[in-house]
């Protein structure tokens, strides 16, 4: 499966399949809570976390309000360092540019660090169709490439795959290794992938990475990873291509610090990811290693049309994944049900913006509106409000009555599933208590602006009714 053809309109039947898929449910259960607890612990350790979130929001708002100017500054710095900036209006532009660069060095193999922009542009299929082998080097991406799947999470792409499924994929793909070898634990699986990919790093002519940030002050691209694959992918081949979308710009190194202090804590609960790498231009004349060419493909693909609209705030997203980790719908159906590159709440807002409301317009209904996503989003993006904007747009566009009914039936689909509904309300209550900060009163309520404008809303004090009922029965 690839993302070339979105299955987003089939979200409801995708979800039904996902709920009935035992392996997927095992994998999702295994991950559930994992990210949530770690993020909470990491955020609680930083007494300034709220102020840093506010600073992050201010910084991105300022950057987006001056994006034309920052892009020009950034481009000038990249060029001064000997790099090349390629502007891509569409996914098709990006595919063409990447292929041209690969062909210019007769590339046969291209190593990939993890990049969602490459997913968005369908780079792998395009390279393969033109006789160039793309090799995903992030362990999770490698696993799903072997399984011919798309990532199901923006930072944990193989979160939907169980360990026995990984073993099966390795046995099939690494057929040159002894069939009776022991792959019974996670460590031997990881070691086998490490050995195989280590050789691939030395074979590729081109390395493609994404970018977590582009810094206007310095012309650097920044990647944040835990494995080191992005660094081997960019340091060993002759050519380094960075694929990044417009909104990755930040003005200065100090602004990058704000993002770094939020990103890992929100994503995995780490204080800092293992590797944060700042790259600028090709290797210097005296350097003994590093790429000889440095290209940045700057992707628009619909983003400039979001600027100046009620969806501009979505461009503050730093792709930490917290919103999906805390989303009861995502937790229940996984990422593939969303049918395109970006799952979870951020995908529900971004997908219709990037591929159109006709294709992606159902996703904003895939929500229990519990408000948890907004409460954990480090950039304080009002995700539920923007999902509502999409519903209004859908209405204004007078999409066919059946499409409008579809939205309602999708909501009903989730509301009818008691386990999911309970999980959603429980998460919502925890989030509301936290917002109330122990005061027991909420001055403002996510989604309830009209109501709480008049009065305080009592913060939920206990457990949900269902929780209490179950406990009482024990």
């Amino acid at each position: 499966m690839s993302h070339a053809h979105p299955t987003t309109p089939a979200f409801k039947s995708n979800s039904r399949d996902a709920l009935a898929n035992a392996n997927l449910q095992t994998a999702l259960r295994n991950a559930r809570g994992h990210f949530v607890d770690k993020r909470a612990a990491a955020a609680a350790k930083v007494s300034e976390f709220e102020q840093i979130r506010d600073a992050g929001r201010e910084m991105k708002n300022h950057t987006l309000a001056h994006l034309d100017l920052y892009l020009e500054e950034y481009e000038a710095r990249v060029t001064a360092a000997g790099g090349h900036v390629h502007w891509a209006e569409s996914a098709e532009d990006a595919r063409r540019i990447v292929l041209e660069i690969c062909r210019s060095v007769n590339a046969k193999t291209v190593n990939k660090g993890k990049t969602m922009i490459s997913e968005e542009c369908g780079i792998n299929d395009h390279l393969a169709a033109n006789g160039i082998t793309p090799v995903e080097t992030d362990l999770g991406e490698y696993i799903i490439q072997l399984r011919h799947e798309a990532p199901s999470h923006i930072i944990a792409p193989a979160v939907h795959v169980t360990v026995p499924e990984i073993e099966a994929a390795f046995r099939k793909a690494h057929a040159h290794l002894p069939p009776d070898r022991d792959l019974s634990d996670n460590a031997t699986l990881q070691m086998e992938a490490r050995r195989i990919l280590r050789e691939k790093y030395f074979q590729a002519e081109v390395g493609i990475t994404g970018a977590n940030m582009l810094i206007a002050e310095t012309g650097q691209s920044v990647i944040v990873t835990n494995e080191g694959n992005g660094d081997l992918s960019q340091s060993l081949p002759k050519v380094h291509i960075v694929m990044a979308s417009l909104e990755k710009l930040v003005p200065t190194l100090d602004d990058a610090a704000t993002v770094l202090r939020l990103l890992a804590r929100s994503a995995t609960g780490q204080e800092m990811s293992v590797y944060t790498t700042f790259s600028s231009g090709p290797r210097r004349s005296e350097d003994p290693d590093g790429p000889e060419q440095y290209h940045v493909v700057l992707l628009d693909n619909g983003r400039s049309n979001m600027v100046g609209t009620e969806f501009q705030e979505m461009l503050r997203c730093i792709r930490c994944g917290a919103c999906m980790n805390h989303c009861p719908v995502y937790q229940s159906v996984g990422g593939h049900a969303y049918g395109w590159v970006y799952p979870g709440p951020m995908g529900a807002v971004l997908t219709p913006s990037l591929i159109g409301v006709e294709e992606g317009g159902q996703l904003p209904n895939a929500s229990t509106f519990c408000g948890r996503c907004e409460s954990v989003c480090p950039m304080k993006i009002p995700l539920p409000r923007m999902m509502r904007h999409w519903r209004e747009r859908e209405f204004e566009k007078r999409l066919t009555p059946s499409a409008a009914r579809y939205g309602l039936s999708l909501w009903a689909f989730f509301a009818r599933r008691p386990a999911l509904y309970r999980f959603g309300t429980r998460m919502g209550m925890k989030a509301l208590r936290r917002l109330a900060g122990g005061r027991g009163r909420l001055a403002s309520l996510p989604l309830g602006g009209g109501w709480t404008g008049e009065r305080d809303f009592p913060a939920p004090q206990g457990k949900t009714f269902m929780d209490q009922w179950k406990e009482a029965r024990r």
Partner: protein
């Protein structure tokens, strides 16, 4: 019209604000790029001083699964390294760059070679330009002194940091990097050995980069006392 012009044109139209003429927007960008802020608050744990800073640095290193030992002066480094290699059952070999800190050292029984990382590197040695107490991070600058591939290809990566180069947090690191002209092709911030949780959501060290990371924290500025 080029793609660049069309993208920038769309942004300019969308962002045009009759209340804020273009020169005003340009001035706001120039001020921010000059470092005039506004600045986010610097967290308390990014402001440690003196001995507390070194203590925090070492504690954070251990929290991210790195190990650390203190070395009283640079000439002591080969002995400290030999000790670590032996303890880890590694061959008495090290690969390092042309960093002047390593140039005059007597490696004794260790066979030391200079150059970039190769496909099999049991142990590599780099010098970090800075340590960072905020998160137990090493800041390495690529170049002939410390080739970037040594940081990622060593099975065990040894890193020398001088005490005087340990900074409190990101802001101090930026000041240092700006001061030296930001010339390296890559600045690598390393916080612990490589890891992945992609298999069964269970964290395991040694994904593609080093399986182990050991820091030699060398007294002072690394200059030998005359």
């Amino acid at each position: 019209m080029s793609a660049r012009d069309r993208i920038l044109g769309r942004l300019r139209t969308a962002l045009a604000d009759p209340e804020r003429p273009q020169p005003e927007r340009e001035a706001a960008v120039a001020a921010r790029l000059r470092g005039e802020g506004p600045h986010a608050p610097v967290p308390a744990f990014a402001q440690a001083h003196g001995q507390a800073r070194l203590t925090q640095f070492m504690a954070k290193l251990e929290a991210v699964d790195a190990t650390v030992s203190r070395v009283s002066s640079l000439p002591e480094l080969p002995r400290a390294l030999a000790h670590e290699l032996r303890n880890r059952n590694l061959p008495a070999e090290i690969r390092h760059g042309a960093d002047p800190a390593f140039a005059g050292l007597d490696w004794g029984a260790i066979s030391a070679s200079t150059g970039i990382g190769r496909i099999e590197e049991p142990a590599t040695l780099s010098r970090a330009r800075y340590g960072m107490a905020e998160t137990g991070t090493l800041v390495l600058a690529s170049g002939p002194d410390n080739p970037v591939t040594l940081t990622f290809l060593g099975e065990t990566h040894f890193v020398v940091v001088f005490e005087d180069d340990v900074k409190a947090g990101l802001e101090e690191v930026w000041a240092g990097l700006r001061g030296s002209g930001l010339d390296p092709r890559t600045v690598n911030m390393v916080t612990g050995p490589s890891r992945s949780a992609d298999i069964g959501q269970k964290l395991q060290l040694g994904a593609h980069g080093p399986v182990a990371l050991h820091v030699f924290l060398v007294s002072g500025s690394g200059l030998t006392d005359a």
